[in-house]
Symmetry: C2
Subunit: 379 residues, 2 copies
């Protein structure tokens, strides 16, 4: 049956019908007054979503592009940086730092285990010469379904005084409470195909006053990713380069929907979906990669040596896409995305189909126990 | 009246209904087999459109991003480059070269005047030490409606032997015959909101074998724009980072439409629209910025000190968007885009409305002479 596909992966995430219709509107000129108004509305609503008075910049890049821009605009070759690495994305940010000639120190933990804030504190406290210019943290590590303790890590960065905190919030922005101004986060990067409920194609970066000061002395060459150009354009409700007009039509609609739902409700919904998914997995006798106190609200990684068979059956019989494990976790986990435009109903449906799939694969569990546990968590 | 807006600007260009509907399809996972098939089809059709066996890479960036990628992947800091500058975009590429620390020499001519191939030949012949590593040419200079003589310039570059030819084909790709393999063009960059008939958000780069050899020794740091990653992914019908899935749905549809129309017909149509526009302007007693033998087939720049009044009336009375002049040409020219999804009917309609506008502004010309001249050119 065509067009009945269901995305339960951590990106791209489901897109609401209203947003799809906006995407298909005919473009208008990006230098027109009408488009300026759309930019102004989007920028105001992005600040609302980011809980910040900082400039939030929109780039025509993926989440990786946004993270790269967030690093090369505020650092210089040879700068010392700490990068938290406990999954594929943390590892990617460390690679970018290395490619750009930063003196890169990885603070690692196993995939599935949150970063240890104490280890970061120790490093920062030992840096009495204030050589560390940035700490790069993946808030929600999508590859392992782990939420790192950004609030605590950030407190240690603030105590250091010199280092910027640069955050990959690609799968936490709009899925978990991330009060940028309250916490004083310097650079926060995210991507459109996640909590924003629109397709991929845009990256977003919130930039603090302290980061803008660092921008003044940053020595990496850049043009397309020069965030100063985006800041200047933002002040005129404009864009430095041709923006992805149709994706911005979709973003305008999605942000309006998010405002009607309300930030607290959005965060509560993501928390509820996470609890339901985890309760179901436990009831079905499956292991969870991340501990309860460090669970990503975007994606749950579930352990099973039949991960690929489970994914194949879910896709073939029920047309539900689940994510697999990456790198050394391939075949060892599958991941259920519950990020963005996902409702309680979607999770119960997914768990029901997962139960049927496990039954087909001769797993032994009490019938309906997964759905029951999920439903209980959704109350 | 809502939604009757007509884009007659050189980008964004009109988007066919079929493409708009494709844009609004629900995304599917970009790592799925179904999406791989779409990538494979797009890549094959991009090669057809580019008339090349070279790898054509798709990036989630604007045209400027594509040009930047086209330079930083094949050059190194300090390299000597010649940049043709006879408009805003040539100037931008020179700026990028300077920002990235290239030894940048501008070969200039006035906006509206094509670059002189002889001047470039002289520079290249004088470079007996083969220090010039690239010649950067804007094929169709959108700001002035000028088509530079890329074929001749490229012959001089080929005679030099060492330098790469790097081409901004943003408004010529799909609008003018650009036989990449026949001419042996090394790097050719373009953007989606132009001849491709889809909204902005994607950049494309064709890369020759000689350019890939230069890539091996190029010393600029890069990650998101590292074209080697895109080449590697292309070989697996994949993408190195999350691609703009919905724009690619649109691109798939647009390329199918272009194949049905046929390359020769597409080029002939753009030539016809250009001739019609120019004939009409002349009949109406208006000056043309570019000479007949160097006319861009994407956009015609028409001289008038009433340019802004003409644009305002065209927009307010007829809901047609025309482009204005940029920088020192602001208020001195207006530009009619005839690029991408534009038909003979669209040009006659635009010229009719232009005549009515000029009449309202008390211009003196023989009634219907513009429409008549345009119609004659369309036969």
């Amino acid at each position: 049956m065509e067009d009945k596909h269901m995305l339960m992966i951590p990106g791209p995430t489901p897109v609401p019908e209203k947003v799809l219709i906006s995407l298909g509107k005919h473009p208008i000129g990006h230098r027109s007054g009408d488009f300026s108004k759309i930019i102004a509305e989007i920028n105001q609503n992005l600040k609302w979503l980011h809980q910040t008075r900082n400039e939030v910049l929109s780039l025509n890049v993926s989440g990786t592009g946004a993270m790269e821009a967030g690093m090369i605009n505020f650092l210089s070759p040879g700068d010392r940086v700490l990068v938290g690495v406990n999954g594929k994305f943390g590892d990617r940010w460390a690679q970018i730092c290395e490619v750009f000639g930063l003196q890169t120190e990885r603070i690692t933990s196993d995939w599935g285990t949150p970063l240890d804030p104490e280890e970061i504190r120790t490093k920062l406290e030992a840096d009495t010469n204030k050589e560390i210019k940035a700490v790069v943290i993946t808030h929600s590590e999508t590859s392992a379904g782990v939420l790192n303790d950004l609030e605590t890590i950030n407190r240690h960065v603030k105590a250091h005084g010199e280092a910027l905190i640069i955050v990959d919030a690609v799968t936490s922005l709009g899925a978990y409470n991330l009060p940028i101004d309250d916490w004083g986060l310097d650079v926060v990067a995210s991507g459109s195909q996640k909590g924003y409920m629109i397709p991929p194609g845009m990256g977003f970066i919130s930039v603090s006053e302290k980061a803008w000061q660092a921008y003044e002395t940053s020595k990496f060459p850049r043009f397309y990713m020069d965030l100063g150009k985006y800041k200047k354009a933002n002040a005129k409700d404009s864009s430095p380069f041709t923006p992805p007009i149709n994706l911005m039509f979709g973003l305008q609609t999605a942000l309006q929907m998010m405002q009607r739902e309300g930030l607290e409700n959005i965060f509560a919904r993501h928390g509820r979906l996470t609890q339901a998914t985890r309760a179901a997995a436990k009831a079905l006798g499956l292991g969870l990669l991340a501990p309860d106190n460090a669970a990503s609200t975007a994606v749950t990684a579930i352990q099973s040596d039949d991960a690929e068979a489970i994914r194949a059956t879910m896709r073939q019989k029920y047309d539900i896409a689940l994510a697999g494990g990456q790198d050394h976790l391939k075949g060892k986990i599958f991941r259920i995305g519950h990020l963005g435009f996902v409702s309680d109903r979607d999770i119960l449906m997914t768990i029901s189909c997962l139960e049927a799939t496990l039954t087909e694969l001769n797993y032994d569990f009490e019938s309906k126990s997964g759905v029951k546990a999920a439903a209980a968590a959704l109350v």
